[in-house]
Amino acid sequence: MKSFLKMAVLSAGLLSTTGLVHAQEVVTWWDFLGGGDGVRMKALIEKFNAENAGKIEIQGTTLEWGTPFYTKVQTSAAIGEGPDVMTYHLSRLPLGVSSGALSEITADEIAAAGLAGSDYADSNWKAAQVDGKQYAIPFDIHSIVLYYNKDMLKAAGLLGDNGLPTGLDGVDNFKAALQKLKDGGAEYGVSIHSAAGDSQWRIFYSLLGQQDGQFLDADGNFLSGDNLDKAVKATTVVADWVKDGLAPAATEYPASIALFTGGKAAMHINGVWEVPTMTDLNAKGELFDWGAIALPTFFDHPATWADSHAFAIPNRVGNEVSPEKRAAVMQVIAWMNKNSLAWADAGHIPAYSPVRNSEEFKTKQPNATYSVLADTAVFDPSSVLAGVASPVYDAAGNYLMPAVNGEIDPQSAMEQMRDDLQGQVE
């Protein structure tokens, strides 16, 4: 017994000393990246942990995208719990800051990490600020693209010699193209996620941007003046496709992808985050020859909805992230930005200019084909009512989605959407 006790004390002592020698910062990380891009992010985290073994370790958790993530962040921050760093949509930044969930990142911290505002596109860097204070560091710009089945488009005469689609610009041309594809044997010309407001919002917002329409004007009014008519036009474009059977009605997200990958739909409008899904399937020999281009120009000029993933530090009330941990977090963010070429594999466009302007990214496919959209990207309105999991997204589910599926006519849908959101302005 006595010797056993001696052994126990000895081993406890040894174990505690080993703990002291390997004192590393453990960074708790929350993200919502569960799609095809989530796999790529996990690989990035593993690479970071391998390169920084013994110094900084990221312990990441992936939570459900959307409302569940943001409400969890808000409530945990308010009681002093939560992660040290998290991914955050810049579209939601005003709302996040107004609810006190985010902690300001000082200029010193940014400089100490080796980053600078000049390393990012101006609009992107500004989108991460509220009242001139920095609350997040951008990581990527992501958007929606048009995925297409090269074989089916070729058979319908819609593929140019360079392997890229032609004849898709313009509302009527696109609809005629859809009809041609359907006549050629496809069940649908294009498959869209028509059962929810978030995907429809992205298409709608792109079409609105292409007409220079403003969803929220400078005076804080929603769909004012002729913006309402432009909104109705944008909604009608998609509603027409569904009405004529060229796009599927009330289709869930996984089903909309399966329609495309299963060859039933010739084209598919979805986020760039599904590029890895297509790439992986193609590599396994389970997918046809596919491509992705920026959304066609339906109206006056090109424009595509875009949002930006960024890294933010939560404002943990009563249990703030310690300065040493913050320094480690900034190192994580800097590393992630510098290594964001690998993130481009997930289909996104790196926000970090040195990477975005590099030769490797400029020649990376399929990103290079559609990354031109970054020049004409339209970001969500800057409002506490806008952004992911916001009242605007809810309103899209309540009015835009039924309008697309033919349950409400576009005119009254847009009017109700405007009135609903205007009524929520405090």
Partner: protein, 307 residues
């Protein structure tokens, strides 16, 4: 000495005293842990919530006192009316049907014997152990408007695929059906326990008298199982008034304003819009509604049972 003599020997006051001091002390000590936990985890937060409903406050943090303004806002809120009706509609769709179906299944299962009975009982009970997210995934997949395996059957009846979760009139009935499938196992168990308590001799006597099966059910089973039926109805009523999970999951991304129940309205107000005071107001109203309805139901059913 006779018993009467012994009784007469005990002094009157000692015999009449029912509350022995030591016994009361022991009782208090035994109940104390429960009372403390109950007071801290239930009574105190409920009082805080009622107090919060009189404030304009964020989810976490102090607010400003505004009296009954939240309640006035509530009764003018169109969304509250919709949520209240959706909740009542869901209760109508699930409480009585779930109880009756459970009773029917329990009566049927009770007639089986041995391993057959265990197998069938397990089949009905297994859904109950599934978490709601699994139930959501399974049924969402089966009803998927493009690839769901139930769609061919639906197409036979409706002439084409039907996106049941995006067709407003079908949404609540479908979610109610899935809820009944999911939770019926528990009710069946309660009923089987009650049925097994009925002595088989009563049935044998009735059979000897030549009573038909149906009469046996209405005259013997139904009255004797009545306390269990009341219990199941009350539990179901309280549970379905608090409906949230399934309605939220199946309605997410869709016309949530038209399909939400009262608990979802609380969630939206308090967690999404960061309006803790208003969320508390809805919660207080829901609490009162449940109290009123369950007391009413219990009284009504007890009165009927006593006749």
């Amino acid at each position: 000495m006779s018993a009467a003599d012994t009784a007469a020997d005990v002094p009157l006051p000692a015999r009449k005293k029912r509350f022995n001091r030591n016994e009361v002390l022991a009782a208090l000590i035994f109940v104390l842990p429960f009372v403390v936990v109950y007071a801290v985890l239930f009574i105190y937060p409920t009082l805080q919530m009622i107090w919060l409903s009189f404030h304009k406050a964020p989810l976490i943090g102090p607010g400003t006192f505004i009296g009954f303004d939240n309640y006035l806002k509530l009764f003018k809120d169109k969304l509250f009316g919709v949520a209240l009706w959706n909740t009542v509609y869901f209760v109508i769709l699930t409480v009585v049907p779930a109880t009756m179906v459970a009773l029917a299944i329990a009566v049927g299962v009770n007639r089986l014997k041995g391993w057959m009975q265990s197998l069938i009982l397990a089949c009905f009970f297994i859904p109950y152990i599934l978490p709601v997210s699994v139930v959501f995934r399974v049924w969402g997949w089966m009803f998927d408007s493009q690839f769901g395996i139930l769609q061919p059957l639906i197409a036979l009846v409706a002439g084409g695929n039907v996106p049941v979760f995006r067709t407003l009139p079908l949404f609540m009935p479908t979610v109610a059906f899935i809820t009944i499938w999911w939770t019926i196992g528990f009710n069946i168990l309660l009923f089987i326990a009650g049925l097994r308590n009925i002595s088989p001799e009563i049935y044998e006597a009735a059979a000897l008298d030549g009573t038909p099966r149906w009469r046996q059910f209405t005259r013997i089973t139904w009255p004797l199982i009545w306390p269990i039926t009341v219990l199941v109805l009350t539990i179901q009523l309280i549970a379905q008034f608090k409906i949230f999970d399934q309605v939220y999951l199946f309605g997410n991304g869709g016309r949530s304003d038209a399909t939400m129940g009262l608990v979802q309205l609380i969630y939206r107000s308090a967690f999404q819009k960061n309006n803790g005071g208003y969320g508390a107001t809805v919660a207080v109203v829901l609490f009162l509604v449940i109290v009123v309805f369950s007391v009413l139901q219990f009284q009504m059913l007890r009165a009927r049972g006593n006749k």
